[in-house]
């Protein structure tokens, strides 16, 4: 990979533009070549018809979708057995982590090593440097890496989402009587990373309450492990952070849980399983085995009756390094809230692998809303390139899970409906935004 490479399409096949024309898909090209034989005549035909038209015409006589499917599912020998997967020690990574001690990787013939990593910037750099084959990332990170926001553009993918919900706004105990966000002017709040759902959800929540997240409060990126220490030292007033940090702040008597992220947007994605497009196309069998392991682990984690056993598996120092009771409270949803009450919210965190393209589109609207992306973008195309809904759907079917219908859906965030078909209109409907 050149140090200063041009933005390239994430399909891994060299051609101009950020997004493939249909004919650029390696399977499609192979089919065209098989049907029309020699290269010159194929080129002539494509020039005459345009690739898209040619593919459309061809799909009338050749079951192209089936060919793509067959290609994606072709069982073959693993290109490599030993894979390295980076993770950040938070409960969002539960499926990635538990798949190691509970044997989900081994069942696919993989010798996977899950490696604890110190921060999001490091996990991004180690992934781009190919020290990791795949990694736990915040859902917006593969999008940011693909379009080159905050790093050089490298085609990245989200083959599966890890968790939905499972975050919270935690405030220092001294603020327990200031529960209305309108009273938070001057607060210093932390999020794990600039390109995180946490950042976008906190900004969304504040803005809906009339607080400008750039003018009225200070939002800074603090690595999750440092959040509780900073809250104790009164460096910050609160954070929208991943668990176990919210529950840990309660456990240590430092803060209380103000609101679960589920009450801002029920079913929001948080962390993702990320892999480079190069790995996806370069080692397809290994990739699909890995994806099956992750999807199966995610399905297993989504069942409430398995949660206690999972908490036990991921608590030791090799994985999350947290007291087991803290993890149990998070995963079972029966938890102390830091205000003297026991709350019972079974879907405080849940696990669902399907990477809805509408998630990516929403993330892009927020990246644009807060000035992280300044140019015009093709929302749907980027979402389709980065979020591999088809692959995840196939793996879910194989694992005996129900395949979701479609690749986009609408959802409601704090009473406001998001329609993935009209991202620009959605973006312009917010009174508080940058640019």
């Amino acid at each position: 990979m050149a140090l200063f490479g041009k933005p390239a399409c994430s399909c891994g096949v060299g051609h101009a533009g950020l997004v493939c024309a249909p004919g650029d898909d390696p399977v499609d090209t192979a089919v065209v070549r098989a049907v029309f034989g020699g290269t010159p005549s194929r080129r002539r035909m494509l020039r005459a018809l345009g690739t898209g038209t040619a593919m459309a015409a061809l799909s009338q006589v050749f079951p192209l979708a089936a060919a793509r499917e067959a290609f994606a599912q072709a069982p073959g020998p693993l290109e490599k057995k030993a894979v390295k997967i980076g993770f950040i020690p938070i409960t969002c990574a539960t499926p990635i982590i538990m798949a190691e001690p509970m044997g989900f990787y081994a069942r696919q013939g993989l010798e996977a090593e899950v490696i604890k990593t110190a921060g999001w910037a490091i996990i991004r750099d180690k992934s781009i440097n190919k020290e990791y084959d795949a990694a736990h990332m915040l859902a917006p990170m593969p999008i940011a890496i693909s379009i080159g926001a905050g790093s050089n553009p490298v085609p990245w993918t989200v083959p599966a989402i890890e968790n939905i919900n499972g975050q919270a706004i935690t405030l220092a105990t001294k603020h327990k009587d200031r529960r209305d966000p309108k009273d938070w002017k001057g607060f210093k709040l932390a999020v794990p990373f600039d390109y995180s759902m946490h950042n976008y959800l906190l900004r969304y929540y504040l803005a809906e309450h009339g607080i400008d997240p750039d003018q009225d409060v200070q939002i800074r990126a603090v690595p999750p492990p440092e959040m509780v220490a900073n809250l104790r030292a009164e460096n910050i007033d609160g954070f929208l952070g991943p668990d176990p940090m919210n529950q840990r702040a309660v456990y240590d008597g430092v803060g209380f849980i103000h609101i679960l992220s589920k009450d801002i947007w029920d079913g929001h994605p948080c962390c993702a399983f990320g892999a480079s497009r190069e790995f996806v196309t370069g080692a397809p069998n290994t990739f699909h085995a890995l994806l099956r392991a992750i999807v199966e682990a995610t399905g297993y984690a989504s069942r409430a009756e398995n949660r206690k056993q999972i908490a036990e598996a991921i608590a030791p120092p090799n994985y999350l390094n947290q007291p087991q009771t803290v993890l149990e409270q998070i995963l079972t949803g029966t938890f102390a809230d830091g205000l003297g009450k026991i709350q019972r919210v079974p879907d405080r965190v849940n696990f669902a692998p399907y990477p809805w393209e509408s998630f990516a589109i929403w993330i892009l609207t927020q990246m644009k809303r807060w000035g992280q992306v300044k140019t015009d973008i093709d929302y749907a195309a980027i979402a389709r390139q980065v979020f591999l809904a088809t692959d995840a759907g196939n793996a879910m079917e194989k694992a005996g899970m129900a395949r979701p219908v479609g690749t986009t859906k609408t959802f409601v965030i704090m009473g406001k409906t998001f329609d993935p078909a009209t991202p620009e209109a959605y973006l312009n409907s917010f009174p508080i935004r940058r640019g």
Binding site: I115, A118, D125, E131, A229, R232, N321, T325
Partner: protein, 280 residues
Amino acid sequence: MSGRIADLKAVMLSLLLFALFLGAWHLAVTGSGTAANVDPEYARLMGAAAMQGTSAMPGPVDIAVRLADLLAHPFYDRGPNDKGIGIQLAYSLGRVLLGFGLAVTLAIPLGFVIGTSPLLHKALDPFIQILKPISPLAWMPLALYTIRDSGKSAIFVIFICSVWPLLLNTAFGVASVRREWLNVARTLEVSRLRLAFRVILPAAAPTIMTGLRISIGIAWLVIVAAEMLVGGTGIGYFVWNQWNNLSIADVIIAILLIGLVGMALDQILGWIGRRLGYQE
């Protein structure tokens, strides 16, 4: 005789100060112990620090217990993210010796050249003065970006931070060899190579040794910061991993071990320096 008594007095005073420190520490962290009056089911979900009014800061007894625990199995290996304290220290020492070794192989010959040429010394001085005070944490993103390997980046950062004091000290030592000795050598028509190895190097050795001691101290300082950033293995990773768990006892133990190893490295170089020293 009186010297030995003074030494003994100093040791006694050291021990007394240490005992006082431990005593004050123990008293400071012993909490009031009044448990808050809450629902027992709620209390079961909370940590001891939050519920029993004890301090979150461990006392000296907690540290001793935990230290004995860690030292009982220093070399266990329970996967890539959980290894014994002995293995972690060995990884850190390995990285430091590599980075420091690189610094030595570059800085001593280069310092020698700079020291013998006042022109080069003046020309390079501004660069050295700018590069010298840069923190290892500032180098790390650049190293990761260009070297594209976290292990090598950590070693590079140790190298780049520990090379400057050694370079400056070598140059200074070489530049301040006494004129008369050089003149005598010249009168005796000693060859340039022989002049370098038999006159200048021995004369500059004490200054170079001081440079080495400063450099290894810096290398050891840098390793903790570098490993906290790149993670994986090493005593810096150990500190980070335990901080993640808010386990202050382990962090204090790591601080203690880092100090002891740093002192040992310094003493070893000091001992070599005394062997190389000479009396005029």
